[in-house]
Amino acid sequence: MADTMSLNDVNSMYFDVLKEIGNIGAGNATTALAQMLGTKVDMSVPQVSLLEFKDVGEIVGGEELIMVGILLGVEGDITGSIMFMIEKEGARHLTNKLMMGMGASQPGEDFNEMELSALREVGNIITGAYLNALSGLTNLCIYPSTPDLTVDMAGAILSVPAIQFGIQGDQILLIKNNFFDEVELDGFFILLPDVESYGTILKALGISSL
C-alpha cells in the first residue's frame, strides 16, 4: 500500500516535521495553559528526540518516576493516539493553580476526583493545542476523542507508545517541552499515528512517500 512506510524511511523526513509541530504545538499549549491558569507561562524551545527504547526512561526523569500520563484517541483524516506526560508533582502544581488551593490533596498523596478531573481538562487542552498545530500545518481534519488518564511509573506509561513504535521499529519519537510558570515543568508529548496515517501526514505536507 502506498501509504504504508517503515518508521526508518519515515524518520528522517518526519523528524523535521515533528520539530515544527513541536514548536507550534508548544506555542499553542503555552498560550492555552496561560489562559487556563490566569498567569504568564513561558516555554523554551521544544526538543524533539528519536530515542532507543532503553534511553527514553532516562530522558523523562527515570523509569520509576511517577508521572501523569494522558492518552487521547485521534480521529478524522488520520487515526491514532497522542500522549502527554508530566511528572506527578509538576501536575499537582497545575491542579493547585486551577483549583486555587481549594480541596487540594497534599504533596505525595494521590490525586482526588476533582484534581483528576482538572488534570483531564489540562490534558485535553494541551493535547488539543498540539493537534491544532498538526491540523494547521497539514490542513487535515484531526480531532481528539476518548481521553484517558493514569498516574504511574514513567516506564509503565511509556510502554504504551513504545509498543506502538515497536511494531515498526526500535525507536520512539518524543517532544520535550519546558514550561515555566513559577516553577519549571517538563511536559513530554508523543504523537502516535496509526501506520497508515504516517503517509497521510507526509503527503499532506508535500513530502512524497517512496
Partner: protein, 163 residues
C-alpha cells in the same frame, strides 16, 4: 556485595547469585524470569510484543523485543551457562492495560496478548510458571534473585510483594 543487573525495555540479561536482576516500570510489557533451582544463574527478559512473525521488518529481528524470540533466547543463554532446560522454572509479571480506552486494534489488549504469548512459549519448552503477577492496570518493577527464586514486585501505591 550483591549487585543488581538492570534490564531495559526490549532487553534481556543474566545474573549470577548472589546478584539480583531487575527491570523497571513494566506496563503492557512482560518480564520473564528463569532459573534452575540450585544453580547460580538467573535470567530476565523484558518483552514488548507477542509475535516476531506478525511483523514485516526490513532489518534483523530485535530478539528481546518479542515474546517468542526473547524467551527462546533467554533459555538458550541459560543453557549456555550450564543450566538444564528440563529443570528451568519461570516467574512472570506485567502485561497490564495501562489505559482503559484503546482505539487502535493492534494495541488492543497488547498486555494480555504478551502474557499469552509468553505462556505459550514457556509451555512449548515445558517450563512451568511457578508464580505470576500479571494483568490489571498498573505498572510493575521486578527484581529477581536466582539464589532464592524470590521475585519481588513493586508497584505505585502498593506494598512490595514477593512471589
Amino acid at each position: 556485595m550483591a549487585e543488581i543487573v538492570k534490564v531495559g525495555m526490549a532487553d534481556l540479561n543474566l545474573c549470577q547469585a548472589p546478584d539480583g536482576i531487575t527491570t523497571l516500570g513494566l506496563g503492557s510489557c512482560v518480564g520473564v524470569a528463569l532459573r534452575e533451582p540450585g544453580k547460580p544463574w538467573g535470567g530476565l527478559a523484558h518483552v514488548m510484543l507477542p509475535d516476531s512473525t506478525a511483523i514485516n521488518s526490513n532489518g534483523p529481528v530485535n530478539i528481546p523485543k518479542f515474546a517468542d524470540t526473547g524467551v527462546d533466547e533467554l533459555i538458550k543463554r541459560m543453557v549456555g551457562k550450564g543450566c538444564n532446560k528440563a529443570k528451568l522454572v519461570a516467574k512472570i509479571a506485567g502485561g497490564a492495560q495501562m489505559f482503559a480506552h484503546t482505539t487502535n486494534d493492534k494495541m488492543m489488549r497488547v498486555g494480555d496478548r504478551n502474557v499469552e504469548a509468553v505462556k505459550k512459549k514457556l509451555a512449548q519448552h515445558h517450563i512451568p510458571i511457578l508464580a505470576e503477577d500479571t494483568g490489571l492496570n498498573y505498572g510493575r518493577t521486578v527484581i529477581f534473585y536466582p539464589e532464592t527464586g524470590d521475585f519481588v514486585i513493586r508497584s505505585v501505591g502498593k506494598p512490595d510483594k514477593t512471589i
